[in-house]
């Protein structure tokens, strides 16, 4: 197992006061809190920080940790000395207020497994009949699957205590029917698929928070779908009928003469379906593409336009 440098994690000196440590924790916690930060590693950083603070804020644990000496480097292979905590007394309890996943092996080898970790904060009390914990997880769903509905085969990592009392992640495969019209942030519930009940209590539920995977063609905002629709200058100027891809298949769209770049044309009801509500719309956002002047003929056409059309797009700039 790797040595962890808790002072480095918190960015404080080894002789930092308790006030310094608390200040550093609060500052970094605001920065890396998974509800606040969008950084991919926010959760890992926040967990590390919580663990470091758990040790350094507590005079007993900090003294014990300091006793290991200062010659260790973060990531170095570590084995606690057999009698490493001799002479240090623990008052016990008081670990963990976060109710999140467990601490590192390094932490557990020094301070034991922190009790009372269950999500939702239920103590696992002896033989008391108790409901199992709810589990929460996130799943990525493609836009097509959200539009059509689909049965997805998921692999979840379920936190579990092994025979030695360590928190481990057990892979679990299951198939879930994704309903038609789920949107990002929606939490679907699988009743009774959470943690097992204790002493005959009912099982907890499994909640899956849905996230729509970014799509190469479509952008989604709520239940509305946007697509960038390139058109030619003559389609824009003269109007015409073009085909637009939608999640439900291609549809014809009439472009009226004099269309502009950035103009949004609405295809009513072609967005994402939502149970109990009117479906979203699709918007085609026009983008006028200029053909390259890559042949003598094309060049001649542009030159003809230049000489025959009195068009000044910069008139309003006084130019």
């Amino acid at each position: 197992m790797d040595y962890k440098d808790y002072y480095a994690v918190m960015g404080v000196a080894r002789d930092a006061t308790q006030d310094d440590i608390k200040r550093a924790y609060r500052k970094l916690a605001r920065k890396f809190h998974p509800d606040v930060s969008k950084a991919a590693d926010a959760e890992v950083r926040f967990k590390e920080l919580g663990e470091a603070y758990e040790v350094l804020k507590d005079a007993e644990k900090r003294a014990a940790y300091d006793q290991l000496g200062r010659d260790w480097r973060a990531g170095q292979e570590f084995r606690p000395p057999p009698d490493w905590d001799a002479g240090v007394e623990y008052s016990g309890g008081g670990f963990n207020e976060r109710g999140q996943a467990g601490y590192s092996d390094f932490f557990e080898s020094l301070f034991g497994r922190a009790g009372g970790f269950q999500a939702g904060g239920f103590a696992r009390a002896g033989q008391v009949r108790a409901r199992g914990e709810d589990h929460h997880s996130k799943i990525d769903v493609s836009l097509e699957d959200a539009f059509n509905g689909a049965t997805l085969s998921l692999q979840l990592r379920v936190p579990e205590y092994d025979a030695q009392g360590h928190l481990r992640e057990r892979p679990r495969r299951l198939q879930v029917k994704i309903p038609r019209g789920v949107t990002s942030g929606k939490r679907i519930r699988l009743t009774g698929q959470g943690g097992a009940g204790h002493s005959g209590g009912p099982a907890g539920d499994l909640y899956l928070e849905v996230w729509l995977r970014p799509h190469p063609v479509y952008q989604v905002e709520g239940k509305d779908v946007f697509v960038n629709l390139p058109i030619t200058p003559w389609e824009a100027a003269l109007g015409g009928k073009v085909q637009v891809p939608t999640l439900g298949g291609r549809v014809d769209l009439n472009i009226s003469a004099g269309a502009r770049s950035g103009q949004r044309l609405r295809l009513k009801g072609r967005g994402l379906p939502v149970a109990g509500e009117p479906p979203g719309d699709q918007f085609a956002v026009l983008q006028i593409m200029t053909p390259p002047a890559d042949s003598p003929e094309a060049k001649a056409l542009y030159e003809k336009m230049a000489s025959e059309m009195s068009f000044n797009p910069r008139a309003h700039l006084g130019g």
Binding site: D35, E97, R98, G120, S153, V176, R187
Partner: protein, 105 residues
Amino acid sequence: MVGSEQSYQPDIEYRFTLAEISRCCGVTDEEILLLVAEGVLNPCEPTGHEWQFDSGDLSRAMSALRLERDLGINPAGAALAIELLDEIQRLRDRVHLLEALVFQR
């Protein structure tokens, strides 16, 4: 192995009573009531029935309670943080949408 996997039909539209959402979040009813008072949670109250919270309320409650616990802020602070985070998310999504539409290809 696909054949051996069980297939599950999830609940989409579900509601919680005050007691249920409190249990789900692992807190007392009082802590949930504080979040209702701050407007973080908006239970609907069908006439003659008790409050009903939806899945959006569950997400916001869990987020607010984590912020309270981890950052040492009170429910009013958590409410402000949640509102600002929602607003930032909306703006980020908008920027992302506009960038994708304007700068594509």
